[in-house]
């Protein structure tokens, strides 16, 4: 993975020193909250319902054992022994005292981590496919380009005060696992002959105005990418609305101008760049960054593993976990492992410090020092030998990390909701837990098949409810929590915004209502191979709406 050079190191250390001074001035009363708030947000410090929260960047979800152990240390020292992985592949530490934040940032800087640009109207953490470099359907590894975008966008003076926050995602796989079409810019790596380039989607987003991104350019060659991104950012910076926070995202600009006119303006901006403005990233620099992402030296192995097959035959629990939580790897004899952070009745995305250290140990011993965070709030060991899976599984079981539900109905994306968040109108976590309980039986989950449930506690949509096959949005009605259900959303390469079904349900009604919907699906599907989303597409929403609002 990428290692800081002396410039990165210096920048991060200087930023911590600067923020330490700002915190001291706030604590002394020299800075008032209105003055301090933008400074703390630029360093990832939020004030949540019960405490401050420190959001820490995990660039493109890439971790190492060393980093993960340090996150465990921060969790133990400054939080309450746990962290919360987010849908931007970052980690949030609740309960951190403001006076301790500089010390926490020192610990993070020790392992080349920081909280810069995890908030504010700037370019945020670039997210990427958690199976990058390991998946069979990836044409290249997108991480080097994510790193190049990170370096370009970090402290970019022209884009430090955008109209609103800005999120970029990159994939190189046919199956979109990082939801590029609901990002401000979504990049899909493509090959034309030997030339690598990017399909560019702009203006996607969720929140109160969900929009699927528009295809702006089918192929931007890699050596033109940063200049093209600058052209997009300049059009947005110039014309994005600053008069209304709710209309300030680039999706509104693209929608109001129309994709064709927006594209014309981007192309004009790009064409107008003078030669001395061009970034002209040297090939040597591109190669240098790519070298950090060289794949491990895999051993030559047969496609199958006798140890793995024997363990599956002997242990039904292992076989179930292996069926659900493994992903095909580019190398024979290897696989990618999803460590689910969605135990039934747990809090989605939460991981305690002991578990972080266990995952770090497993990565170090069996996983070539590579750990990824998924945008669906799980962890991944991308490179693991099939032979090692029985041992890894036993260790995960002991650590409470072997929930066999990747991609199944209990593998929900859930925001922190009103239990933690100042913006939320309703709780998310308890509703998710109640829904999980209804579908807790592993056989039932497997029978249902792949199905994404996403829950948000407010219209800001941190739980990405718009793109859940079933979306649940918590709303406040005169002080009471209600939950609006939507059907048919998806975040993949066929991205669709879900459709609201009708009136909201009380929290206690949600689990039973979803069970009726799911059982209706099971009765209507053509076979077990027809997924919920496909049955929904084939039949329309009416039978499922009817089930949702039926009474038991």
């Amino acid at each position: 993975m990428y290692r800081y050079d002396e410039f990165d190191e210096q920048m991060v250390r200087e930023r911590v020193a600067q923020f330490r001074g700002q915190v001291n001035r706030r604590l002394s009363g020299e800075l008032l909250e209105d003055e301090f708030k933008p400074l703390r947000l630029q360093n990832g410090v939020y004030l949540q319902l019960h405490s401050y929260m420190l959001r820490t960047a995990i660039p493109y979800g890439q971790l190492s054992p060393r980093k993960l152990r340090q996150l465990a240390r921060v969790a133990r020292t400054f939080s309450k022994g746990y962290g919360h992985f987010t849908t931007r592949q970052n980690i949030q530490f609740h309960w951190v005292a403001l006076k301790d934040v500089p010390a926490a940032l020192d610990l993070l800087a020790d392992v080349e981590m920081h909280s810069i640009q995890t908030s504010g109207n700037c370019i945020r953490n670039t997210s990427s496919d958690h199976f990058a470099g390991a998946a069979r359907d990836g044409i290249r590894d997108p991480r080097p380009w994510c790193e190049i975008i990170r370096q370009w966008s970090t402290f970019h003076p022209e884009f430090a005060f955008l109209p609103r926050k800005f999120k970029i995602a990159v994939t190189a796989a046919e199956t979109d696992r990082v939801a590029i079409r609901v990002h401000d810019i979504g990049l899909h790596m493509r090959l034309r002959g030997d030339v690598l380039g990017f399909e560019v989607h702009v203006g996607g987003g969720l929140g109160r105005t969900p929009v699927i991104a528009s295809l702006v350019n089918e192929f931007v060659p890699e050596d033109c990418l940063l200049d093209y991104l600058e052209a997009i950012m300049r059009v947005y910076n110039l014309h994005g609305r600053r008069d209304n926070k709710f209309k300030a995202r680039i999706k509104i600009l693209v929608t109001e101008l129309g994709p064709e006119e927006f594209t014309r303006q981007v192309e004009a901006e790009y064409a107008a760049q003078r030669p001395n403005e061009k970034i002209d990233l040297p090939r040597a620099e591109i190669d240098r960054i790519h070298a950090y992402f060289k794949l491990p030296d895999f051993a030559e192995k047969p496609e199958t593993s006798a140890v793995f097959e024997a363990a599956k035959a002997a242990d039904a629990g292992f076989a179930r976990w292996a069926k659900n939580n493994l992903h095909p790897h580019i190398m024979p004899g290897y696989t990618s492992v999803t460590i689910s952070l969605k135990p039934v009745g747990g809090t989605t995305g939460d991981m305690n410090a002991d578990q972080m250290e266990k995952a770090a140990d497993l990565s170090e011993t069996y996983g070539f020092d590579d750990v990824r965070v998924t945008h669906t709030q799980n962890l991944v060991l991308p490179h693991v030998a099939l032979d090692d899976l029985p041992t890894i599984y036993a260790e995960l079981v002991a650590a409470g990390l072997a929930t066999p539900n990747e991609g199944l109905i209990t593998d929900m994306v859930v925001c922190p909701g009103l239990d933690f968040c100042t913006l939320a109108n309703a709780r998310s976590i308890p509703v998710g837990q109640a829904v999980q309980q209804v579908f807790a039986d592993p056989d039932y989950q497997e029978d249902i098949g792949r199905l994404h449930v996403n829950i948000s506690g407010c219209i800001n949509a941190c739980g990405h409810h718009h793109v859940g096959h079933i979306g649940i949005l918590g709303v406040d009605k005169k002080g009471e929590e209600f939950y609006q259900i939507s059907f048919g959303g998806r975040a993949d390469e066929k991205a669709v915004i879900g459709t609201i079904t009708g009136p909201g349900l009380r929290s206690e009604e949600v689990p039973g209502a979803l069970k009726r919907v799911i059982d209706t699906y099971r009765s209507l599907r053509t076979s077990k191979d027809e997924l919920f989303i496909d049955t929904l597409t084939r039949l329309g929403h009416d039978p499922f709406k009817e089930a949702l609002y039926a009474t038991d």
């Binding site: 405490s51 939460d350 239990d419």
Partner: protein, 101 residues
Amino acid sequence: MSSVRPKLKPETPKSITAWETPTGRTVWMDADGNWTPDASRIAVFTGDDAETRLANAIRQEAAVTDPYFMEVTETGAVAGRETLRETIRVNGPTVAYGETV
């Protein structure tokens, strides 16, 4: 910090709540005008007295952040439109987390 805080009438009983600046923990004003993390010591204010106390609280920027009125009953129990949010602030998250799991 809530995006929309209800405007309370002068006669509505209210407490004053904020976040302790150095730690971020939730605090309430007690009857002596001091800040306490103990919600059982919530003091109830009304009318001009409440407005004056909130104005004073806002001037205590180093000690507390973003003080605001919280609607309560005459006995200091959380009340009104924001009951759920404020009850969660008083009692903590309604779900297990961290070391309590």
